[in-house]
């Protein structure tokens, strides 16, 4: 099944790299794709075309796949660790926290600073993400217990507040007012391989931690006490997994802004299809998240005939909203609300 998804992703990536304002024939694209195998095949292709296909479109496609995978994986882990079907980077306020951290870093002028080869932007986003998650956690368990809906309510409050703060920051720093939409609704416009390289290490690191704990994630669904009876160190595991998924979220938000619904919907979609075992679920979530965000981004950049782009978060919300309504209306029992 993963192989099927992988193949689907490659085919979709191929098709979408032919979509854009400049008409490029699929023959040319195939030539460019095969160039690493046999450079002579791409001989005679115009340098501008080559640049557009490889450095503009393909970079953007890979970035959408990476960010989509990261967000969906983070969502699956939040849902599994907090045993909350409504949890995802967006509803928990983690995305907004990351965006706030990143904008703060940009305003402070440290956004472009590199320390020991590490860009400050994802680090600031990570700090913001963790602070927001901690705040939501505190608010959500005011009466000692964490309720499914209280936690999400706290997430929405923190998220709304931080979005307002981002708007405020940008308004005070007036030359970048237009980019508010980027942070709040997300976008892949003008992104390059640099951004892919910015996210990828964090995806590998966070994903590594998450895949390390697949078996424990299954057991955690029995509840904390039963998991401890089986010998799982619940406190430690929960801490590591929350850190890992917040890292994924922060890295994704640092390059693409806040994109909702991917982390919420994809895990449910996969769980309905192949069941809840994380050993199978997580790889499928990673792939499907990437695939769906690639589709959403392609729609975002090609829907308007005027050549302008929609924020990709608008597309994911329009696609994801109705699906979640369906879950709420017809699969209430599955959601266990």
């Amino acid at each position: 099944m993963w192989l099927g998804l992988l193949l689907l992703i490659v085919v979709t990536a191929f098709i979408t790299s032919g979509i854009g304002p400049l008409e490029i024939s699929y023959k040319t694209i195939l030539q460019l794709w095969l160039a690493p195998i046999h450079p002579a095949w791409s001989a005679g292709v115009d340098d501008t075309v080559r640049y557009i296909v490889i450095n503009v479109r393909l970079a953007r496609i890979v970035l959408a796949l990476t960010v989509g995978g990261a967000l969906a994986l983070a969502g699956a882990v939040y849902q599994g660790v907090l045993l909350n079907p409504l949890a995802d980077p967006f509803t928990l306020g983690v995305s907004s926290g990351a965006a706030f951290g990143a904008s703060l870093a940009i305003i402070a002028g440290v956004g472009g600073i590199h320390l020991l080869g590490i860009s400050a932007l994802p680090v600031a986003a990570f700090a913001g993400a963790l602070s927001a998650l901690y705040l939501v956690y505190l608010l959500g368990r005011m009466d000692g217990r964490i309720h499914v809906t209280t936690l999400v309510l706290a997430g929405i409050i923190v998220s709304t507040f931080l979005s307002a703060c981002i708007s405020l920051l940008k308004s005070l720093n007036e030359d970048s007012v237009s980019t508010i939409v980027f942070w709040i609704m997300g976008s892949f416009a003008g992104k390059s391989w640099t951004h892919v390289l910015l996210v990828l290490p964090y995806l590998v690191l966070g994903g590594g931690v998450i895949f390390w704990y697949t078996r424990e994630l299954d057991i955690l669904s029995l509840g904390d006490i039963q998991a401890q009876h089986l010998g799982v160190d619940v406190q430690r595991m929960r801490l590591f997994l929350l850190l890992a998924s917040s890292l994924l979220t922060a890295a994704a938000v640092a390059v693409s802004g806040i994109i909702g619904f991917v982390g919420l919907v994809v895990p449910h979609l996969v769980r309905l299809g192949i069941g809840p075992r994380h050993r199978r679920l997580l790889p499928a979530v990673l792939l499907l998240g990437g695939f769906l965000l690639l589709i959403a981004d392609t729609i975002a950049r090609s829907l308007l005939t005027t050549g302008e782009e929609l924020p990709v978060g608008v597309v994911t919300a329009i696609l994801g909203g109705p699906f979640f309504c369906y879950l709420l209306l017809h699969r209430k029992k599955y959601l266990q609300l």
Binding site: G80, R215, D218, S221, L222, I225, L230, G231, V232
Partner: protein, 269 residues
């Protein structure tokens, strides 16, 4: 079926609780509790609500930190055992299990093998065999493919019981483990426990509400009240009006059931 690692010498007392103080912030539920569990005992722990039964099991399984006194498992202080190692020796069935994701019942039973498995290892032949046996004993084979979120409360308890049997601990701790089952299933599960106890020397420590169920199966009964041991001994010696009336503050009538020579208690309103 249920045995400890053969290399390890098992001391006479599997579990030793000495002057245990334990509870929740600002409120000690257990106040100076002491007793020892020898290998191969079948013990019932009884007492009114709030007497500390569940707290005792949480302390024994290492979940509640203890505030005073000590707990030793297999001769080691409880805190010194690693989580997985403790889980290989002490298996627990909790009250009101709740599974939050739609796993199949068989998948839930297989989770019981966790303490025996290495991280990247797939289910071994022993794992598969332990799961099969546990499901056979609890009669949960027919539930294997059903979703744990879609079975009844009693069925869920049987699946959780199967999961815990698959864990193959040296000691089995039960907390009201059969509360949602009908009487037929209840007796069936206790007969399985009795069988494992007799044939394999499984040690059972069961918190229960039902005095008569305890009288039927347990070889030793410990009565708790207000966090202290009130009585501890064989059913014949502790199921006497003086003790029962002190524990439950209710008048009782004790009868012997003909043929099987077990005591049964009637509480008089």
């Amino acid at each position: 079926m249920l045995s400890a690692a053969p290399s390890k010498e098992i001391p006479a007392a599997l579990i030793r609780v000495g002057d245990l103080w334990c509870g929740y912030p600002g409120h000690d539920v257990l106040r100076g509790l002491s007793f020892a569990v020898r290998k191969g005992e079948f013990i019932g722990i009884l007492g009114p609500n709030g007497s500390g039964k569940t707290t005792l099991l949480l302390a024994l399984s290492g979940i509640l930190p203890i505030r005073g006194g000590e707990i030793e498992v297999l001769g080691y202080p409880l805190g010194r055992l690693k989580h997985k190692e403790r889980a290989r020796h002490v298996a627990v069935v909790t009250q009101e299990p709740d599974v939050r994701l739609p796993f199949s019942c068989e998948e839930v039973v297989r989770m019981g093998r966790y303490p025996h498995q290495k991280r990247w290892q797939l289910d071994s032949i022993e794992d598969a065999e332990a799961v099969r046996r546990a499901m056979f004993l609890t009669d949960t084979g027919v539930l294997a493919e059903r979703l744990i979120t879609a079975v009844s409360g009693g069925e869920k308890q049987r699946v959780i019981m199967a999961k815990t049997l698959a864990q193959e601990g040296t000691v089995l701790l039960l907390d009201e483990a059969t509360s949602a089952m009908d009487i037929h299933r209840k007796l069936q599960i206790f007969k399985v426990l009795e069988q494992l106890h007799v044939e394999n020397g499984l040690t059972v420590l069961a918190v229960m509400h039902d005095v008569n169920l305890a009288a039927m199966f347990c070889e030793r009964i410990i009565f708790l009240k207000e966090g202290c041991v009130v009585a501890d001994g064989a059913p014949e010696s502790v199921l006497i009006p003086e003790i029962l009336e002190e524990v439950y503050e209710t008048r009782v009538l004790i009868q012997e059931v003909p043929n099987i020579r077990k005591l049964q208690v009637v509480f008089m309103p």
